[in-house]
């Protein structure tokens, strides 16, 4: 059973965003390598207390692969525009075409502990789809997609802007100072990286050809077990 699951705007945004994230994280890690220490507050430098000190990220994780702060900034700042403006178009569009309300809205019943437990158990058994409505997102999908769309990506964008000395001065204050904004930028990046790893893992477990194919063509094949149950 073929189901039309992802609209064109969703597919376009997904891939633009995927490319942007694939550039932003490695180039951001290279920028981090220039000063791999994180602080809270307005200021923070070598003589100040760092809440996190990390070794430099290896070259296979960074863009460029060798130490090149200027090059990494070129990548990061160029794709920042791609990331931010594509989200700026996608979110209101998805509100207007009712994608957000229809597919991502979390209903009270879904948050009931028994339902969460059932869904978790189904995940462990690699059953990801509700047989009655196979194309609907389950609660963990909804929560993680909504978390990325409404929390992580906006947080990354605004904490990133807060780092810019030429940006609105109040923006850094919103996050508790520029170095706090830098720490939050890093934490949001770490959470987004975690999302990417889990997302890719689940795509593979759910059947990569069908899943990736549906994000390209829009058409998704409902799994057999779901089909039979339906």
């Amino acid at each position: 059973m073929q189901v039309y699951r992802h609209r064109l705007i969703t597919r376009i945004w997904h891939w633009i965003n995927a490319i942007a994230v694939l550039v932003m994280i490695p180039s951001g890690l290279m920028i981090f390598n220039a000063h791999p220490r994180l602080y809270w507050g307005n200021y923070g430098a070598n003589f100040d207390h760092a809440w996190l000190k990390l070794p430099q990220w290896p070259g296979w994780l960074t863009l460029p692969s060798t130490y090149d702060l200027a090059g990494a900034r070129h990548w990061h700042l160029a794709f920042a525009l791609v990331l931010a403006f594509s989200l700026l178009v996608y979110l209101p569009w998805s509100l207007l075409n009712r994608h957000l309300q229809r597919d991502l809205r979390i209903r009270r019943a879904e948050l009931a502990p028994t339902h969460l437990a059932e869904d978790l158990e189904a995940h462990w058994q690699l059953r990801f789809h509700d047989p009655a409505d196979p194309k609907a997102y389950n609660i963990f999908q909804k929560a993680s997609y909504a978390g990325v769309l409404f929390i992580l990506l906006p947080l990354l964008i605004f904490t990133g802007l807060a780092l810019a000395p030429g940006m609105w001065p109040w923006l850094a204050d919103v996050f508790g100072g520029r170095q706090s904004a830098r720490s939050l930028h890093f934490i949001a990046m770490a959470l987004l990286s975690l999302f990417v790893v889990v997302h890719l893992t689940l795509v593979i477990l759910a059947g990569p050809v069908n899943e990736v194919g549906s994000m390209i063509t829009g058409w998704w094949k409902a799994p057999k077990d779901a089909e039979e149950a339906a």
Binding site: G71, H74, W75, L163
Partner: protein, 245 residues
């Protein structure tokens, strides 16, 4: 499709290494212009950088870049407390100037406690005082056609001994917080922080805050100065000329 995804995930290193060559492509570099345009459009040209209270200053303000120019000329100037040092103001100006430290101190002063943001990611907060650059430029009188202010410094950098310089456009040159600082945290600038005079252009990153100022030049174009990209790090490493982000 599996192989493509496999490529992206497992062949990431190869992919990224292949991207290294594109790090200075014109498309990426144009983003710098886009950020400058967007920032100035949404924040306003005269928006002020955040100023802080005295108790919000960094306990210790680290030095960066050149810690001491240590050239014979600079050492001679430093030896008698910069009494013989003069700031030359020239280029496309009506009245070239040669200003002593005493003259700069007798101009109307601006003091500001601001955050210094290094391109590397760290920040330090300190108090800076000096005349606004605008005061000096008004004394000299810019000629028609001047579009940039170039700051020539006493320090020569790196193995190749290239003189440090920086440049800003007139929007930043006439910004109220753009000052020629001779004082830091209520004491005359130390050698590590750019004695006797440094630029503070508060809405840009640290490498724009040129230290050890010797000469200010008004120009119509940045071509022909250094390698033409408007500053030492811009020329040497490809940093953005507009460092507001």
């Amino acid at each position: 499709m599996i192989t493509r995804r496999g490529l992206i995930v497992s062949g990431g290193a190869t992919l990224l290494a292949g991207c290294d060559a594109w790090s200075n492509s014109p498309i990426l570099l144009n983003a710098d212009e886009a950020h400058r345009y967007l920032q100035r459009s949404i924040t306003g040209r005269a928006a002020l950088a955040r100023e802080f209270r005295p108790d919000q200053r960094s306990p210790r303000f680290r030095t960066n870049g050149t810690a001491n120019p240590n050239t014979p000329e600079y050492n001679a100037l430093a030896a008698n407390g910069f009494a013989d040092w003069r700031l030359q103001v020239g280029g496309m100006v009506q009245r070239p100037l040669s200003l002593s430290l005493a003259q700069l101190r007798s101009l109307p002063q601006r003091a500001q406690i601001t955050r210094h943001d290094c391109v590397e990611g760290w920040s330090a907060i300190g108090k800076w005082q000096g005349p606004q650059l605008e005061q000096v430029l008004r004394l000299a009188g810019l000629r028609d056609g001047a579009r940039y202010i170039v700051f020539h410094c006493a320090d020569v950098f790196g193995q190749r001994k290239i003189p440090y310089y920086e440049s800003i456009d007139l929007i930043d040159a006439f910004h109220p917080q753009t000052i020629l600082a001779w004082s830091m945290n209520d004491t005359p600038l130390g050698v590590g922080h750019g004695a006797p005079l440094r630029l503070r252009v508060e809405r840009q990153l640290g490498y724009k805050q040129a230290k050890y100022l010797m000469r200010i030049e008004a120009v119509a174009s940045l071509d022909g100065i250094g390698r033409g990209k408007g500053g030492f790090w811009e020329d040497i490493a490809g940093y953005e000329w507009y460092a507001g982000i």
